[in-house]
């Protein structure tokens, strides 16, 4: 059997199993946390308390919400296409979770005498893997919207497809600069290459474009046109309820976490701390989580601040501003890398 990734150290099967369970469990527990954080912070930013009735400080609210959704009746419209309707949210959640596998939480460390890399798997094509799953994620939204058999869902799905395709281009190009500078696609090696200087400094244009495109990719304000509660009644997930709606909701927040994790890995130096501070190995995952939460705070902050873009503004911004900017950024980076 050919190995999935080039490992220059031996990692026993139980270590791989254990770390995949741990990564999955930790990141999965972050979703209700983010839900809570979002509602609390949005509340504070609107000069009110967030939810504070369920449990101490309202901390049990997401659990209550999820339990409520799961205990509801599964229903679907008569006009819907059954199997696809059920499959679509599953695709969404699968693609959201799959990206977790390659996010590095730390370098190879020694745990009980065994070398274990603090990441699911270090693949040579890390960023391509991300974009591959990002592309499959469209199917989750488009199938969901189409299979619902409702015009609002369909409109939402069409918007989602158009928006995701437009911004995926800019997003991919914004990362080209990082790839040129690091000379590798592996996320672990990209982090290693950021020793000395985080890529947010030389690649600040790429960082900005990536962040903006990331907002669009995760359907967050100000790019939440596919959902657009006011116009489209939640867009592609209009007809979803109960557990399937919970899946979509879950996938949305999971995508947020994944984009935050990628941004902190590629631009904020992953587990590295600035100014040459070199903490012991067990601090690394905490550093990564802190950076992820910084980006999540940014997501929520922006949501509380900016209104939704108009559809033509969204399109012209994506194609006329972000795409040329990302191309120029990639070109300039290429020239600099070649000339030095």
């Amino acid at each position: 059997m050919t190995p999935l990734a080039a490992l220059d150290y031996y990692e026993p099967w139980w270590a791989q199993l254990a770390k995949s369970v741990v990564i999955f469990a930790v990141v999965l527990q972050m979703v209700p946390l983010v839900l809570m954080m979002e509602r609390k912070l949005l509340g504070r930013m609107q000069a009110r308390y967030g939810p504070n009735r369920v449990g101490p400080f309202g901390m049990v609210q997401p659990v209550a919400d999820i339990l409520k959704l799961l205990s509801k009746e599964q229903s679907r419209p008569h006009s819907s296409v059954g199997p696809l309707y059920a499959l679509a949210p599953a695709i969404s959640i699968l693609t959201a979770v799959a990206a977790l596998a390659i996010i590095p939480f730390g370098p190879v460390v020694d745990i009980f005498g065994t070398d274990v890399g603090l990441y699911g798997i270090d693949v040579d094509i890390g960023i391509l893997y991300l974009f591959a799953f990002g592309a499959i994620a469209f199917y989750g939204l488009v199938l969901g919207g189409w299979a619902s058999g409702s015009k609002y869902s369909f409109l939402g799905a069409m918007r989602a497809a158009a928006q995701l395709i437009s911004y995926e281009v800019a997003m991919g190009l914004s990362l080209v600069g990082v790839i040129f500078t690091a000379g590798t696609l592996s996320l672990v090696e990209i982090v290693e290459a950021q020793k000395g200087m985080w890529y947010v400094v030389p690649q600040f244009v790429g960082f900005g474009i990536f962040l903006i495109a990331g907002f669009a990719e995760t359907n967050r304000t100000p790019f939440d046109l596919p959902e657009a509660d006011a116009e489209l009644v939640q867009g592609y997930m209009t007809e979803y309820g109960a557990g399937r709606f919970a899946l979509y909701y879950f996938a949305e927040y999971m995508n947020m976490i994944v984009i935050s994790a990628i941004a902190s890995t590629l631009f904020l130096g992953g587990w590295l701390l600035p100014f040459g501070i070199d903490p012991p190995g067990w601090v690394d995952p905490i550093v990564v989580l802190a950076k992820i939460f910084f980006f999540l705070f940014l997501f929520i902050w922006i949501r509380a601040t900016l209104p939704r873009l108009r559809y033509d503004q969204l399109m012209s911004f994506g194609w006329k501003v972000l795409l040329p900017l990302a191309t120029v950024n990639a070109l300039v980076t290429a020239i600099v890398v070649v000339s030095t």
Binding site: L41, G43, R44, M45, Q46, A47, R48, Y49, W301, I302, A304, T305, L306
Partner: protein, 176 residues
Amino acid sequence: MRRYDEDVVEVVRGPQPGGAGGVYRAFGETLRGLKTTFARILEGPVTVQYPEEKVPVYPRFRGRHKLHRFEDTGLEKCVGCSLCAAACPADCIRVVAAENTPEHRISAGERYAAVYEINMSRCIFCGYCEVACPFDAITMGHDYELSDYNRSDLVFTKEMLLAEPLERTPLRAEGE
């Protein structure tokens, strides 16, 4: 004479969208918005946590009605004249008067209210009953927590209106 040209406000228009000025404006305004929302976090919420905290009512607040007795004799002030019922625009007051007898004296006047009911689910808290009453027998109180599980429970009888009300709502202090 007042000079109106002092009131003219210079309208400062931002740069038009498109071009470098537009980019500057978009960035600047976005940052200004972010600052505004972040400042709200530092400021803290303005919400009143209702069941635990209550906003104090003003002295002239019109809440649930009260019927009064004379403090010295303990006789009811209401003489069953039905003027309140006549004044009530929502028609929620029902008064049935009866004659006082020397052995059985309830009010100071010739007659007394044998039945005095206010349907709180109909009442619009306009205070006309209070205005109409010639003996100040009925006044508006401060209680506004009037929800109940049955509509019939919201018909307040004379005994309920005469009883010393539960002070559930704080009264605003003088000058507050």
